[in-house]
Symmetry: C2
Subunit: 210 residues, 2 copies
Amino acid sequence: MIGEKPLPARRLPRAQRRDQILAAATEAFARSGFAATSLDDIAAEAGITRVILYRHFDSKTDMYQAVLDRMCARLDANVEEPVGGFTDASVDGLLAAAIESPAGFRLLFQHALREPEFKERIEKFRADITAAAYLQIAAVVPDRALARWAAQLAPVVAIEAIIAWLDAGQPDPAKAAARIRQAVMGVIGAAVASDVDCPLPHHARMEGIS
Amino acid sequence: MIGEKPLPARRLPRAQRRDQILAAATEAFARSGFAATSLDDIAAEAGITRVILYRHFDSKTDMYQAVLDRMCARLDANVEEPVGGFTDASVDGLLAAAIESPAGFRLLFQHALREPEFKERIEKFRADITAAAYLQIAAVVPDRALARWAAQLAPVVAIEAIIAWLDAGQPDPAKAAARIRQAVMGVIGAAVASDVDCPLPHHARMEGIS
DNA sequence: CGACTTGTTGACTCCGAAGTGTACTTACCG
DNA sequence: CGGTAAGTACACTTCGGAGTCAACAAGTCG
């Protein structure tokens, strides 16, 4: 299906092979998530046998955790939040991580986040960003329920904007970050605007856009 | 775990039971998707035995399809698109469907959409909305790649806004639709703005929001 | 009442995938 | 050149969940 190697597969030093397996596992898991991905799928993706996997990881779960941790570490490294909140730097960090590993990015936010057994770690990451966003938004949006809603939505929009950008073939990387930031700002702006009971003729704008 | 009934479970006429099973299955599947949900989970959710499921559905796959079709039909009914495009009515329809069945809404857009074997039907639904959105956006955004990106993103933001609203406890239902529409418009506005090379001091706005 | 239908229980088969062991090759490095 | 580590082949065991069957219990309706 992919690029199978009936050949005896080149030899690699242990650490390197482990890394390659993690990369392959990331790709495989990113397609259908944990439950729907077999170790044979991963072995095939890595171009080796299933048995080899067990020389590097204790179990499927262990391996999945390693994949998740690896990607989370990448995120933590890129989007270190000095309590500053959901800043431009946060978007840049997310984007950088997504560019480094698109599959890992998708895996985290499209699959792992919805898998009860694994979502904890990454949910905590997201919660941090959401909390930071809340502080900023709450300062502008008096209605607390609305502020929580916007704070919840802002990071999600950033993530979805990045994924949509990946899907679109990563056009114009130089301006991507700016555009994503604007999309997020657009959402926050919506919360602000609708809080003062729709001062904008949004209906007309939406209908008359064409 | 939930509200188990060790009792012999009340009897229901066939059609009614089938519907109740579909509702239970929707809840169960919405938690972890197709692969990670067992028929026992569903039977427990419905308060009956696994064997009964087979008196209503041929297989697990068959049942899942039924659940998906049911929810898709609900969507089609609510958000009928007279080629008009991604209008206010579309948002209203999506929102109505989400209120009718939050679990179904989540199941479709958080799980089924990422399950290769099943995403086809619902992907088509999403593609229709995306295409409609593209027509509207392309009229305002000259850069075609950017327009495609925004068109891809707009429906996703609408959906995520709805899910975030569900998560927040469905506050202020009367204005929810308007807020979601504004969020979507904010995203589209971002595409428009960034196309003319960032006329807004977005950086300052974002940093200085607090 | 008696038949039918909905339900339960507990057994059973089947299959795919996780996980393990052993014996056999072969590349690489000191 | 020889040993070790990386890799293969294949033959398992184990396990959970899908799918099936038969016997039995109890509401409901003619």
